[in-house]
Structure formats: C-alpha cells, structure tokens
Symmetry: C2
Subunit: 239 residues, 2 copies
C-alpha cells in the first residue's frame, strides 16, 4: 500500500500562486495549510467523488489531472471538463453541499482536501482568503462561459483547435511547454467533452497533421505552428 504522503506545505508549493493561497500573507498561508488534509494518490480511473455524494470539502489538484463527468440513463459517460494542477474541484457543490458531477483521475494524481467547515471558519477570519475564493468562483464562471461559447456554434475543426490551444495555455501557465505536451485522456474523452465522436477527433488530428500545424504521436502532441492554429479559431473570436 502507498504510505500516506508527507504533510503538504502551501509555502513551498510551486502552484500556490495559481491556487487558493494567492494574495495571502505568509502567516495566513500557514493558517490555511493547517486545515489541509492530504489524500493518498489516485490512479487512472479512481473516483475522487460521485455525483449526488455529500460534499465535505473542496479539492485542489496537486499533480496529475482529473475529469468531471456524468453518466446518462443509457450508461454513456459524458465528459464535462478537466482539472489540471492548481485548479479547485467541487466549486459547484458549495450551493447545497452536494456534488453535481462525478470526478475521476485521468492518470496518477494527487489532491489537497480542504474540509468545508474549516474552510468556512477560516474565510470568516481571513478576508483575503474569502476574497480569493470569490475570485476563483467568478473565474470558474467565466471559464464555463467560454466553454458554452465553444460548444454552441462551432465546427469540429474549430472545437479541436480550441481544445489544443486551451491545453497549450493551461500547461504554459503551469510552467510546462505550451507547444509540446501529452494528452492524459483518450480520444473518446476528448470527443465527449467537445460534443463530437472519437472518429471525428481522429480525423481532425489527421487533417491538422497534414497541414503541418501539429504532429501527433498517440497522446503526444507537438504544436508546430501556434499562429496557424490560432488562425483557425479567429473567425469565431468574440469582441
């Protein structure tokens, strides 16, 4: 069995500026990290929580990646979003303290758990923490609006290009290469996320390769021409 990981420290965590501690004083961060519960690492397919479970806390992604999904009446999984390191999971459950979606791990991953009651106590004491939580909630709404825009009215080509650019940007913010990364999910999951079939994802990847815009080797993605990729989504860009 995996031993319980060592106690997390937000002070030394390189994700701190993307996560809840952003904007906090050192002594405030020290108070915050007291309430963080470490969880054993999860592996591919492990469920972090299921839809309709009671929400006892939020989760911050420490490493790896997660997938938000629901299962419909016919047993088909519908992927609704992805979580990368530094992002908070469970924000939609603060309303009634019940999870509205299921979340599982796309690879070996770890999270910090923030128990809700203690987080609420702390927010009352540390205005900066409350402020940062509000900002993160608002940012999540803004990100959702972008996703709604993407799904609303676009061709498969634009959806796939936007998906790649979204990952490029998010990996870039994490300090990784924004032109070379590994997909942590199968085609089927990308397809479900974009409202397409996995065959369409495959065909779009092939088409982008033939135009020399990207190179694909299984889950390994190399973006050869970021500008051309950007140009694909240009006509749908809002102002």
């Amino acid at each position: 069995m995996t031993p319980c990981p060592p106690k997390t420290s937000c002070l030394t965590c390189r994700l701190a500026d993307l996560c809840l501690p952003f904007g906090l004083q050192i002594n405030e961060i020290e108070t915050l990290e007291i309430i963080i519960k470490n969880k054993r690492p999860l592996h591919l397919g492990d469920i972090l929580f299921n839809k309709n479970e009671q929400c006892l806390g939020l989760f911050a992604v420490k490493s790896g990646s997660f997938r938000r999904f629901v299962i419909n009446a016919e047993g088909v999984e519908q992927t609704l979003g992805f979580y990368l390191p530094g992002e908070l999971i469970g924000l939609d459950a603060l309303f009634d303290e019940r999870f509205n979606c299921s979340v599982d791990a796309l690879e070996t991953s770890s999270v910090c758990e923030l128990p809700l009651t203690r987080l609420n106590e702390l927010c009352a004491k540390i205005p900066n923490l409350q402020y940062q939580l509000t900002r993160i909630l608002s940012k999540e709404i803004s990100t959702n609006h972008e996703q709604i825009f993407l799904l609303s009215n676009n061709s498969a080509k634009i959806k796939v290009a936007t998906f790649l650019l979204m990952l490029s940007k998010r990996y870039g913010l994490l300090g990784y290469s924004h032109t070379h990364f590994n997909l942590s999910m199968p085609r089927q999951t990308i397809a479900s996320f974009l409202g397409l079939s996995n065959e369409t994802i495959s065909r779009q990847f092939t088409a982008l390769c033939k135009e020399n815009i990207i190179s694909v080797n299984q889950r390994d993605i190399q973006i050869n021409d970021l500008d051309l990729l950007q140009a694909i989504i240009e006509p749908c860009h809002s102002h």
Copy 2:
C-alpha cells in the same frame, strides 16, 4: 423621459428569497438596500453593459428579462444565456472586474445595481451576505455545468425540450404558470443559445405541436403534457 423609479426596498420585494437578501436578518437587509442604486428601466435591445467594459457593480433583475451574448469576428451574435427576475448579472466579472460578455434587455425590464466596492465592504461586515453570495456563485457554476451538458451531446429535439422545461421551471419558481408562458426572445435567439438554426427551432416546435405536447402561437407557449416533454429528455438524464 421616464422619471427615476422610487427607491427599491428589498424588504417588500417578492423576489427577495431568490436574490441576494435570502437568509439575511431584517436589519441586515435594511443595510443592504442602502447601497442599491436604482436604474432607469431598459427597453427591448437596450444594452446593460458591453463586453470588456469595467465592472463597477452587479445587477439583480427586478423585472423583465435579459440576454447574455458576444459578437464574433464576423459580426454574428452568439447568445450564451438568459436572466430572469431574481437572478444576478455580472458574476463572471468579479474575477478581474471586467465584463466578459455583453448583456441587453429582451423586453422592458429593470434592475437593481449593487456597486462593487460597497458590496465588498458590506460582505466583510455581514457574514450571511458573503455566504449567500458564495452560494449564488456556486449555483451559477452548477447551472453552467447543466448548460454545458445540454450543448455537448444532444439532438435538436432534446435541446428544444430541455429549453422549454428550463423556462417552465424558472417561471414556476417565480410564481408564474409553468405550463403557459410567453417567450421574450425571437426564434433566432433561442437557436443561437442552443447551437441550432432558427429553422430547426421552428421545425422542432411544429413537431412538438403535432404530437400535441405543446401548443405554440407566436411567442405564446402552452405545455399540454409536461410528462411527455420530460420523457423526451429522459434518455439523456444523468445520475
């Protein structure tokens, strides 16, 4: 010119329980309503704010209805959501105090404005208010997730049925009939919202009429069989 409307009172507003005052003590509501600025009523097509404008405050819908949208590089409007009475507009702008979408009125409508600086001051003083704002933010994320689910993977028929059921539910919560209501937007706007063409909306309405599930007369919608409408979306329902 329309005279400035009389000072709003949250204490007598029948929407208070759907809106920010929910869960507050009477004296807290009295403090809240001091900061509310009334705005002149807006009419069909009037812009509440434009994308990229600085966000100086949130808006609560008092009457009528609004539409969230963006305009793409080709000048085409993309509708992203609707706001009915009791709902808060601008929640996605708390992050960087800049609006990410434009909002206009679908009919003669009015809003209460909540200036951001004064709202923040008040949240710091009234924990219940902060708590309610957090709940509303979380609820908005949850609603967004439902919309993402709807757009992801569904047929025109399911989308249209879901749209009607969504309106039915929201009007019901407002105390109006949930089987008989007027659409405040043209087919084109519904189409854009659902990621369909206006012709498809028309055809789906016609099909539902032929099955006697609804009756449509211009913007007047009568739901004759709520169960059958619900049955249409059943196979895509998540659990």
